[in-house]
């Protein structure tokens, strides 16, 4: 549309509507500044991961001639590694794996856990009994041990790492959602829906699910930090996704340990990247929990 055709509404409408859309965000930032800092940091990490090839100063796989194990400098702010690769570029590319696996496994774990939690709480009876024993079983096995055992049995692949970490998270979500469903089930609105002839499926999807949505959002953010730590731990142990792209956990295991006295930056910077991302997720998660669901406050 050329400027000559601009009508008065075109010129006037956009600003208030975009401001109206921004207002809740600004209010969030004013009430929870630390949460806003977390959100901005996390968004930055996601953008860096998405646009890694464009943002990274070097090709992360390229061996730069004569630049082996160089300390941080203007040309290489985080230094270079033993294969003469630029560490900053590798760290930017490393965000891709951690965020993909982290977000993927949290979504898988939350969807499974929430679905089973609603089923378990609403249907009760033997379904509840069976599912809750299964949850007890999963909670009895330390998460990291469960994850590495599953990766060992399923085979080492990106999908299997996501599945292993997702399965490890589902029980906790299931417990929380089940507890809430139990309280909600006894409320008049559920009884009203059922007396109007709503099927179980409809009650669960249309009446219960929206009511547990807020705590689920809180659980997702709370789980994401842990999932990223778990992914980097698996990579660190050499049991992560077998990818050719750089991985933060892997960077900290091999080279960092072998060259820790001559090139400490190899150990410091990848770890700082993980810590920053996990910290930002935790700050955001704490703020969301305070605002959305004070009952879960710790």
């Amino acid at each position: 549309m050329s400027s000559a055709h601009l009508t008065i509404t075109d010129a006037v409408l956009p600003p208030p509507s975009s401001r109206r859309r921004l207002r809740p965000l600004l209010r969030f930032a004013a009430r929870k500044p630390l949460g806003a800092v977390g959100a901005v940091l996390l968004l930055t990490a996601v953008l860096l991961a998405v646009f890694a090839p464009a943002v990274a100063p070097y090709d992360p796989a390229k061996n730069l001639l004569g630049q082996r194990l160089k300390p941080p400098s203007a040309a290489h702010p985080f230094g270079t590694d033993a294969q003469s690769r630029d560490l900053l570029s590798r760290i930017i590319h490393g965000a891709r794996l951690s965020l993909t696996v982290g977000i993927g496994s949290v979504l898988l774990g939350t969807v499974t856990g929430a679905a089973l939690g609603i089923l378990s709480g609403y249907l009760g009876g033997w379904v509840d009994l069976l599912l809750q024993r299964l949850v007890d079983v999963m909670l009895a096995i330390p998460n990291l041990i469960l994850a590495i055992a599953m990766v060992a049995m399923l085979g080492q692949s990106l999908t299997n790492v996501v599945i292993a970490l997702g399965v490890a998270q589902a029980p906790r979500v299931c417990l929380v959602v089940r507890g809430m469903t139990l309280t909600l089930r006894a409320q008049p609105f559920v009884e009203a829906a059922r007396s109007l002839g709503a099927t179980d499926r409809r009650v669960m999807l249309r009446h219960l699910l929206p009511n547990v949505a807020a705590p689920i959002i809180v659980l997702v953010t709370a789980g994401l930090g842990g999932a990223i730590v778990a992914e980097t731990s698996l990579s660190f142990l050499g049991l992560g996704a077998p990818v050719t792209t750089p991985s933060w956990g892997e960077m900290l295991s091999n080279q960092a340990r072998r060259f820790m006295t001559v090139a400490p930056w190899l150990g410091i910077f990848p770890g700082l990247a993980i810590t920053t991302v996990v910290l930002s997720v935790n700050l955001l998660g704490d703020a969301l929990r305070d605002l959305l669901d004070p009952r879960l406050r710790v």
Partner: protein
Amino acid sequence: MWAYTLRRLIFFLPVLLIVSLLTFFATRLVPGEPALTFLGQQARIEEIEAWNRHHGLDRPLAVQYFDWLGGVLRGDPGESLAGGQNIGSELRARLPVTLMILLFSFGFTMVIGITFGVLAAVFQDSWLDHSVRLFAVFGQSIPPFYKLTLLMILPAIWWEYAPPFGYVPFWNDPLRALQQIIPPTLMLAIGGSATLMRITRTSLLDVLRADYVRTARSKGLKERSVVLRHAVRNALIPVLTIAGTLIAALMGGSLILENITSLPGLGQYTFNGVIQRDYNVIMTMVMYAAIVVMSAHLAVDLLYAVLDPRIRYR
């Protein structure tokens, strides 16, 4: 109390039974011949059959399961597939190492977490409170393996000092053993103690607003005794709840710690089993880990009922 204990025990056994069924049958559902992992892809049929017979894998699944379960309960879960060593004697040799790690890291976690949580609540909104909360947010966000990596890197840069890694049995040289065990377990304790600090702080702040605390103050009790005798004891009940979860997290942490500091414990054994895809070792270690965590949960439940008699009648 006896009825309650009995009820918890009845609840405990079926869960362990399901863990054993799941771990056992999960390893049997893995596609492919396990023999090929150890004999190589070119193995002949007769070799595979002989290997299966040697490890008892040609018997019916139910027989294998009960044989293994009985072995686990007797402390003799059979042989590893990879090297053929006796898993039981390997466990007994490695147990002291992991036990030391768990003992120290659990102790540090509880002491640091509860002390600073109480201090933060008592001096709410002071600089101490703010530093504790800042520490807690950071402590929860740094992955354990990064803390342990920094433990090796930073002293080397700052003081050209490397903490003595490796393993000396405690009774051979207690001082050196402590030097090896304290720094890494302290690092491992940071994450859990950060969580504990937050829970203790929130819980104590709630309790300090309770009526009975106001009564205690109005009786003219000293603040010190109000907090320590009346408030903290009740505030610690929710803290106790996560002790079982904490043990599970520390067992995972111990695996990473043993991997980094080359301590020959159970975590390293589990890890080697996973790397070699040694199903006998994997399912046995998962089973024992579950038994430990479940026992911790059981102990917490019972302790809970002692501290808060109302729970027994629910």
